[in-house]
Amino acid sequence: MTETALACYVYCIAPADDVPVLEGLAGVDPAFEVERLTQGELSAVFSRVGTEEFGSEPLKRNLEDLGWLERTARAHNRVLARALAGDAVVPLRLCTIFADEDGVRDTLRRERERLLDALARVRGRTEWSVKMLADAGVLTAAVREHSSVPAGSAAEAAGHAYFARKKLERVARDDARAMIRQVAADTHARLRDHAAAATTLPPQDRQLSGRPGEMILNGAYLVERSSTAEFAAVAKELDASHRELGLTLELSGPFAPYNFVTAAAQPK
């Protein structure tokens, strides 16, 4: 029956004395449930995977298959979401795979310091995403309304009306650009004040995110569990106060602290 070779797919690392209950949860290979393995103070949350699907070569092919990628990424995310029930969890990049349990144990031994350090950093905290999206039309109109360029100037001379209008539109657009950069920076600073750490990520590709409007802020915030409600309230308030400018805030989470497990991701 077990003709297929198996490997160990590791999702995350948790403290050995605080591993969340993950029994009965299917792994990225649905034939196998999530297990844990302990080495010293560290536990690895993993599941078995068939190498005919997760081996080096098949994996490369499978990553190009959108259906496979989505299934795998969602299964990975589901395990992390459940693991978040624990106090501290360090997420690993998708598809971190070891030949066997000994390989996992060796790594827990070898990376012990780095992993303990990461666990300490995220203990009692989860990651939240706040995105700010701009409706360019509404924003330009709002800026034009408040613009220092008098609206009447466009009608001054009939011959120049077209160019004047074009100029006005350009000024409004440039003003709008400068303004949303400032608004995004202010919004991020405000949210950062309510987070243990914060970072900005590149805006998501509009085509990939499927969102209308331009993403002007893609912030990630490491928030104390006890401050979650407060953080959400600040985000909600910021959302309400920017609506008339055509700017909306979108809060999502909690996520495993993907963006805060390395020392480099601590710009605060």
Partner: protein, 81 residues
Amino acid sequence: MTDRHPDVMTEREVSLVEILDRALGAGIVISGDITISLADVDLVYLNLRLLLSSVGTILDGHDHASDPEPLSIGRRDDGSA
């Protein structure tokens, strides 16, 4: 932005790109026997864009106005968080 309590948001559909940006673009990188390289990550995104531009007409046919939630790429998975 939702009015629901933050804890409830885990039940919301998380878009695939949201998951990939974190699970592929971040997280601690430990070299396993098999580990996705940065080049692999770039390739995944490149493929996503190629695939999406080819299904763009399907997505464009979707009524965005009636769907304020982020549009998921591909199938929906109710068990996800």
